[in-house]
Each structure stands twice: as C-alpha cells, then as structure tokens.
C-alpha cells in the first residue's frame, strides 16, 4: 500500500512540482512504443521504477541515462519483459507496442518483435558464427531452406559490418572473435529476426574505445531501419549518438527530451546536477 502513497505523493504536495515534472517530459507524436504510468517491483512494495510515462520515437535512438541503481536497466528490460526472469516481479501500468499492451501478449511473441543486446557479448559458445546469427530461427524450430538462411546470415552480418571480417570463417565458433566483433555478432543475431525495436543494455561498457566507436557508428546507421533504445551510463556516448535522452534518478523518469536540448538546457535541476557531475 506504500506504493499508492508514493504514487500520490506529488499530488498531495504542491501542484507546482507536478507541473515541473510534466513539462520536463517531451511528448512524442505517433510513438512506436508507449510507456504508460509504468511501475516495476522486484518483490514487495518497493518499486525500482515508479510511474514512468514516455513515448519512444520511431527510427530514432533513445538513450536512457542515470546513475547506477536508478532503474534504467529495469525500464529497458520491462519493455521486452526480460525483468520477469527474476521471481516475484510485478508491475503496474502498461507498455503499448502499436495498439497492444505488451503485458497482455505472450512474452515469447513479444521478444520476437523487440530484440535485445546485453552488456557483455554473449554469443552461444556451442555454435558457429553462422549458427549464432540464425539462432533465433533454429532455436525456435523455424525451418528455413539453405539459401534463405545464407541470405539472412549475409544480410545481418553486412548490416553490422562484420561480413568482410568473418565471411571465410563462418563455421568457426563465435567465441573466438574479439570482444567488439562478438558484440556486433550479437547485434546481428538480434537483427536477423527484423524486430521493430532493438534494446541495448550498456552494449559498449565491456569494450575498448575503438570497438566502442564501431558499435556507435553502427547504431547510427541502423536507426533508418530500426528503432533503438540504449541504456548507457556514459554521458558522452548518449550525447554523440542519441536523438532523444531520458534521465532517470531514484526510479523516477526526471527528464525526457531531445538530446541536444537536454545537454545544453536541462529543464530539471537534477538533470543539470547529473550532467555537471554533482550527482551520480
């Protein structure tokens, strides 16, 4: 019951504060994904994110920033329901993909529409590069003819700029690649399904600067075909590649707007303090 009290807190205080919060959240026209008053808890009444509402713009890169523990990964995982891997999770509110509430969908179908890339590159160690790219089909028992498979593998690897590097070693294990190559392989694996949205959870935090730059270039290139949502605790990365930025603090979406504007003229004090290194 504490949670409802938390939700009502801004209203019982002053209306002025409520206005500030609403103004600092940018409205997105015809969003591909609409997060509607979402709160997520990993058990009990303690919510890791509270009352988050935001639209995600189609074919743009949206970055979620914030200090560790602010709930940015939870928000990302709530979008394809990966947070449900932990027992006792529950949530309030909704997330709409098109007209459908994703919490009414089957998570298996949902995850085929919203792909994900993780912090550490995680290619399947038992599979070759080729099988890793096509894993989404093979593991789901979708039978494809050889030429179809070949085409998907080549297209996906070309999209991530890995084709020329690995085309002669397609049947070697994916784990023999360098960290950056592995991460691009994981992106190719997520792309092979042609999902609508790709979620990336700090995709470059385990990589060196050169590999990071390649991934960033890749993401900018990919946004013409996909909508990208990216969690990062690297502010300059968000500034370099994202179109929209969210700033989260203590489970709350503090500010959401165009990246350029947020970095030059933040509306909320806390955003400014974070960007200038006073909190976080």
């Amino acid at each position: 019951m504490e949670s409802t009290i938390l939700a009502e807190m801004p209203i019982t205080k002053t209306n002025k504060k409520l206005n500030v919060i609403q103004n600092s959240i940018e409205h997105i026209d015809s969003p591909v994904l609409k997060i509607d008053d979402l709160s997520v808890s990993y058990g009990g009444d303690k919510y890791s994110i509270r009352n988050v509402s935001a639209g995600i713009a189609r074919n743009k890169i949206t970055a979620i920033m914030g200090p560790s523990g602010c709930g940015k990964s939870t928000l990302l995982r709530a979008v394809n329901r990966m947070h449900e891997l932990y027992p006792n999770t529950h949530n309030k509110g909704a997330v709409y993909l098109g007209d459908e509430n994703i919490y009414k969908l089957n998570p298996i179908q949902l995850r085929r529409k919203i792909g994900m890339v993780f912090q550490r590159p995680n290619p399947f160690p038992t599979m070759s590069i080729y099988d890793n790219v096509i894993a989404g089909f093979n593991l789901n028992g979708i039978k494809l003819k050889r030429p179809e498979k070949d085409e998907i593998v080549e297209r996906s690897l070309r999209e991530v700029g890995l084709w020329d590097e690995v085309k002669d070693a397609l049947h070697n294990r994916g784990t023999f690649l360098s960290g950056g190559q592995q991460q691009r392989l994981c992106i190719a694996r997520a792309l092979a399904y042609t999902p609508e949205i790709i979620l990336l959870d700090e995709p470059t935090s385990a990589l060196d600067p050169i590999a990071t730059a390649k991934i960033e270039d890749l993401l900018v290139k990919l946004k013409k075909d996909f909508t990208i949502v990216l969690v990062t605790h690297n502010m300059s990365q968000a500034a370099r590649i994202s179109d929209y930025s969210m700033f989260m603090y203590l489970g709350e979406l503090v500010e959401y707007g165009k990246t350029k504007q947020m970095f030059t003229m933040p509306k909320d004090n806390r955003t400014e303090e974070y960007l200038t290194g006073k909190i976080g």
Binding site: N80, M82, L85, P107, I108, Q109, L110, R111, R112, G115, M116, F118, R120, N122, P123, F124, P125, T126, A135, G136, L139, N140, G141, T175, C186, R189, A190, Y193
Partner: protein
C-alpha cells in the same frame, strides 16, 4: 644486538628445516597413495595375462570339469567370459538408459530452482541415496522387480538396482555444471523469443555437456564393477543371455563365481584385469571428454 641476531638465525634455520620436512612429507604421501593402483595392475597382469586371448573374449565361461582337466594337464583353461561381457553391456546399458535422462532432467531442475524448498528436499534425498549400501539396492531390486515383475532373477532387475546407484552422480554433476553457466547465455536465448524448454535443451545443457558427460561416465564406471546388487537380481548365467527378463551374467559376478570354484581360480585374475581395464578406460574417456568438449564462455 648480537645475541638477538644469533637467536633469530637459529630460528630461521629451524623453520626452514621444518618447511623442508613438510614438503618432502607431502611428496612421499602423494607417492604412497598412487602406489596401490600400480600394485593391483602389476598383480593382475602377472597372474592374468596367460588366460587372455581371443577365446577369452568370445567364449562363455568353462564348466568346472573342463577346467579341472586343463589344470591337471598344465594347460590354460579353455573358454572365456563372453557371457559376462555381454551381460555387463546389457545391464549397464539399460541402467544408463534409465538413469541418464532422469538424472540430467533432475539436475537441471535443481540448478534452475536452487533456492526452492522442494529442490532442497530433492537435493537432500539424492545425497542420501548416494550413501545407500549397494547390497540394499540389490534387496530392493529383488523385492520390486524379481518377485512381482519378472517372476525370477533378471537383467532388468539388476539394471534398475544399478540405475538407482548411478543416479546421484549424474544429478549432482549436472547441477554443479549448469550452475557455472553464466545467466547471460540464458538471457540471450530468451531475448530471441525462444521458449524456456528449448533454451534449456538446446542452449544451456549443450553448453554444459562436457561436465554432464563426465558425471555420466563416472557413474557408469562406478556401476560397471558392482557385484553385490547383481547377486540378488541378475544372479548369473552360464550362457550368453540377451533376454532381459532372464537371469544374466556380468563380469563382476563371474569373478565371484570363479572365486567359489577351486578349479577356476586362475580365471579370477584375467576377468578382474579385463574389468579393471574397462573401468580405467571409462575414467580416461571421462577425462578426455571433459577436456575436449569443454565449452569456453
């Protein structure tokens, strides 16, 4: 100043000496514990090699009269242990078919639901099962299968007794192996929309296959040499028996039979040698698999 230096010098010398004694002590004890295997091999080869030839592998155990004549003529005993070899393959094979899927699925459940109360109970029971004396499993096989199901001693009864015996090692090795696999692999598969059962069967278990197979091989090598449970279940047979509802022989059972027949005593060494070689090969195979199929993640 001088005195204290002298004392500490003496102390240091004494300490270094103690260190040396301890180090050499460790080496000699390590050496001592590896001696028994070599003594056993030496003894078995010395006394058993004469009997081992092609016939030994392809003929059934001789009857006591033939053996007596051969011994009195100072010839090698005719016949072999083919009935035991075939019996062991059938009984151990059947036990594996029962225990391997059961053990792997059970171990997977335990690693996936480590904190679960029911998993805790299952884990405890499996650990207790490991300590059940093998003769008791023989009695159980006798009561459950020999009397009500096959109506007499049978390979099936022996297999079931042995499958219970190998179950704990498969369950625990599967659980320990799968626990080590990073959760990021499971996440990768789930994020591709793969249903949970396929994630486990096609990604997680294949990734841990080397550890699981090592446990399986060690389980097999453990039951391949078991005698006590088979005495009460499979009993033994003088002919090659492929019907699993009939009494069947096994290599360790033959060793016991040879021991009880004064004319066949020299067959003990050869049969034991073969059994030991078989089990050593299984162990070496387990090590090779663990090394070769190890997946890097």
């Amino acid at each position: 100043m001088n005195i204290s230096t002298e004392i500490s010098d003496r102390n240091i010398k004494r300490r270094l000496l103690k260190d040396k004694i301890f180090t050499y002590g460790m080496i000699s004890f390590a050496f001592l514990s590896s001696i028994p295997l070599f003594l056993i091999l030496y003894e078995l080869i010395l006394k058993g090699y004469k009997q081992i030839n092609i016939n030994f592998l392809f003929e059934v155990a001789p009857d006591t009269m033939d053996a007596m004549i051969a011994v009195s003529n100072h010839e090698i005993i005719p016949g072999g242990i083919a009935n035991g070899i075939v019996g062991t393959l059938i009984i151990v094979g059947l036990a594996s078919i029962i225990a391997i899927p059961l053990g792997i699925i059970c171990g997977t459940y335990l690693s996936e639901n480590a904190e679960d109360r029911f998993a805790g109970i299952v884990r405890f029971i499996v650990d207790m099962l490991q300590g059940v004396p093998s003769i008791v499993l023989g009695v159980i096989g006798y009561i459950w299968i020999v009397k009500p199901v096959t109506g007499g001693f049978s390979a099936l009864a022996g297999s079931i007794a042995l499958s219970i015996m190998m179950l704990p090692s498969i369950v625990r090795s599967t659980e320990e192996t799968l626990k080590m696999i990073p959760i990021s692999l499971k996440e990768a598969a789930l994020s591709l929309g793969v249903p949970y059962h396929r994630v486990m069967l096609k990604v997680v278990i294949p990734t841990g296959i080397s550890g699981i197979l090592t446990g399986v091989m060690l389980g097999i090598s453990r039951i391949a040499g078991e005698t006590a449970p088979l005495m009460l279940t499979a009993l033994g047979s003088t002919a090659i028996q492929t019907n699993i509802t009939q009494p069947t022989s096994a290599i360790p059972l033959l060793v016991w039979e040879f021991y009880n027949d004064p004319n066949l005593v020299s067959m003990i060494w050869s049969a034991s040698l073969l059994l030991l070689i078989l089990i050593l090969c299984l162990n070496l195979g387990a090590k090779a698999i663990a090394k070769k199929w190890k997946v890097q993640y």
